[in-house]
Structure formats: C-alpha cells, structure tokens
Assembly symmetry: C2
C-alpha cells in the first residue's frame, strides 16, 4: 500500500541522543543532527516533529536505558544489600569512565542548561533524580535491616550524599584532566558507606 521507511527510526533516535548528550540542546545545530541521523531535514520533521520534540525523545530514551540498567543490576545481584549498593555505584561510574567522548550524564548535562528547556523536559530531569533517590533509599533501608549500615545513620541524608556525589563525579568526568579527582571521590564514597 505504501512505501516503506528507508531507515530505522530507533537507530536514528539513538544517534540524535548521542549528539545531544555530547553537545547539549542549544549547542547542537539541526544540520549536525540530520548528518548524524543520516536523514534529510524534511524527513526528520515528518518523523520526529521539531528539535524540541527530538530532544525530549532523546532524553526519554537515555533515561529509559539508565533505568533498565539500574533495575537489572539490582535484580541480577546475588549479593547482600550493601555490596549491591557499592557495585551499583561502581557500575554507574564505570559506564561514564569508559565513554571516550566524556559525555557524562545526559540528565545532569540537561540540568545545567535548564533555562533553555521546556517544562516537560524540566519535569523529566527532576523526576529522574527523585527516582534515583528512591532506588538508593530502598537499598539503604534494606542494608540497615541487614545490619550493614547503622540504623542511627539517617537514610535520607545518606541517599542525598550518594546521588549528589554521583552528580559531581559525572561533572568531573566530562574533562579528562579531572578524572583523577572523581576516582578519589569514588573510593572515598564507597569507604564511607557503613
């Protein structure tokens, strides 16, 4: 009945995500996106709406990937809660460190551009962090139940510390020259969990 698409929209979106992740929303011109996605402007607009919509979907794709990554890590972990927390943190940092583009965390990057974003983007950024907080909070409460973390230590504060530290590390990992500081920070963070 109709002509089939000559490209995979999922693949194209993935390419767009990587460009936005690396250069941000304001810093990414449309021609760079069409080039990376391998499609022409007109085709981009019929498939993805406009730049804001493409960015929004890129952010959703990134967050979905991270969510799955975290959930899987916890689900597949046969370790005790504390070890799971530590390995999860290491897993997140390792992912960022292995990225030769030093893109950091897409959500953190977007957060720093906050003034240029629409409300729905802002919302997704904020909800991502509260989601992350909830994940770590549950693990910490579990670790306290297991007696691995003192119950006299406030779980809320500890959660904030972990999430905050991860944000800081993701910032530092954007430049090769400050990678060593994030390394130090990571080991300090892991040792402080008890």
């Amino acid at each position: 009945m109709a002509r089939p698409k000559s490209f995979d929209p999922d693949v194209a979106l993935h390419q767009a995500m990587n460009v936005f992740w690396r250069n941000g929303y304001v810093g990414t011109p449309m021609p760079q996106l069409t080039k990376a996605m391998g499609i022409h402007p007109g085709n981009l607009y019929t498939n993805f709406g406009n730049k804001e919509n493409l960015f929004f979907r890129s952010l959703l794709l990134y967050q979905k990937g991270q969510r799955i990554r975290m959930v899987n890590h916890i689900k597949n972990s046969t370790d005790d809660p504390l070890t799971c927390i530590k390995s999860l943190i290491q897993n997140i940092v390792l992912q960022a460190k292995e990225d030769s583009d030093c893109k950091g965390c897409f959500t953190v990057n977007t957060f720093l551009e906050i003034n240029h974003h629409t409300d729905r983007v802002k919302e997704k950024v904020v909800s991502y962090f509260s989601e992350m907080k909830t994940t770590f909070l549950n693990l910490i409460l579990q670790a306290q139940k297991y007696g691995q973390i003192s119950v006299y230590r406030e779980a809320d504060g500890l959660t904030a510390m972990i999430v905050n530290a991860l944000v800081g590390i993701h910032v530092m990992l954007r430049h090769p020259q400050t990678v060593d500081q994030s390394e130090l920070m990571l080991s300090e963070l892991l040792e402080n969990l008890r």
Copy 2:
C-alpha cells in the same frame, strides 16, 4: 584630548558575566549581551574584542571574586581549622542559595559546556578546581595537626569529597525543586567531617 567613555567597562563586564553565568556561552546571543551591558554592538567589539573574549574575561572576573571571597573568609576567621572549613563550605552554599536566579557556579556551568569552549577557557576551568582543592587540602592538613580530623583519614580523599560535593550541590541548586536535596547533602557533608 579625546572623548571620555560614556559607560564603566567594569560595570558592563559585570553585567555580561551575569548573563553568561545564567545562560551559558552558547545560550547567550549577542543582542542579549549588548542589552544587558547597555552598549551598542560596535562599542562592545571595540571595548571587549569578540564574544569569546568577553566570555573569557567574564569567567576571570567570576573566579577572581570567588577567590577573594574564599581567601578573605579564611583570613578573617578566628576559629579553629575545622570550624573554618565548615563555615567556608556553608558560606559557599549560602551564596548560591541566596541567588534568586539559581545560576549555580559559573565554573561548573562552563564545565558542562566544555565542548564549545576554547583551550584557554578549559584551562581556567581546570585550574580553578585544582586551586579549590589546594585550599581545602591545606585546611584539612591543619585540622589534622590540631587533632580535629583523624590523621588516619586520607586528606586527599577528603578534599576530593568536599570539592565534589560542592559541585553536586551547585548543580542541584540550579533548580528550585531539588534545593532540598542539596540541603540534606550539606548537613550530611558537614557531619562527616571528623
């Protein structure tokens, strides 16, 4: 002999700094700068070169202000080293919290735009962090000498933790909805210093 300037270059630079601080380099168009500085394009270029140069000078101005702020705080402090560290951290965070524009830290913001900056800007960003690290490291070593922080605690790691936490807090403070998390983080950080 010649016509005097009709505006104060220092004041104009200060205005430019605030715009860049709030919206970033890529996110700030030239007309917004001329408007904020109260001068016309031609005048801007004869006085400040081009956009990159204006940004560079804005960053230098910001860093100079922060440097003075920190040095003065330490110099005027009559407290013991540990109290000085804590009050310095509180001072830095308070400054950011009092900013109704939620601009965060200019240097951190610039860091997240790193791909769009010239080498000399990158250099200033990196050196700012190592400077900050040195400042805190010296204070920590002093506190260890005073017996306020255990000598068995690695000063390097502690320093990285503080700087990293401050970076994270500055990110979180850019959006009103995540301010509470940075509050929790701050108290957690201050309590962990011993």
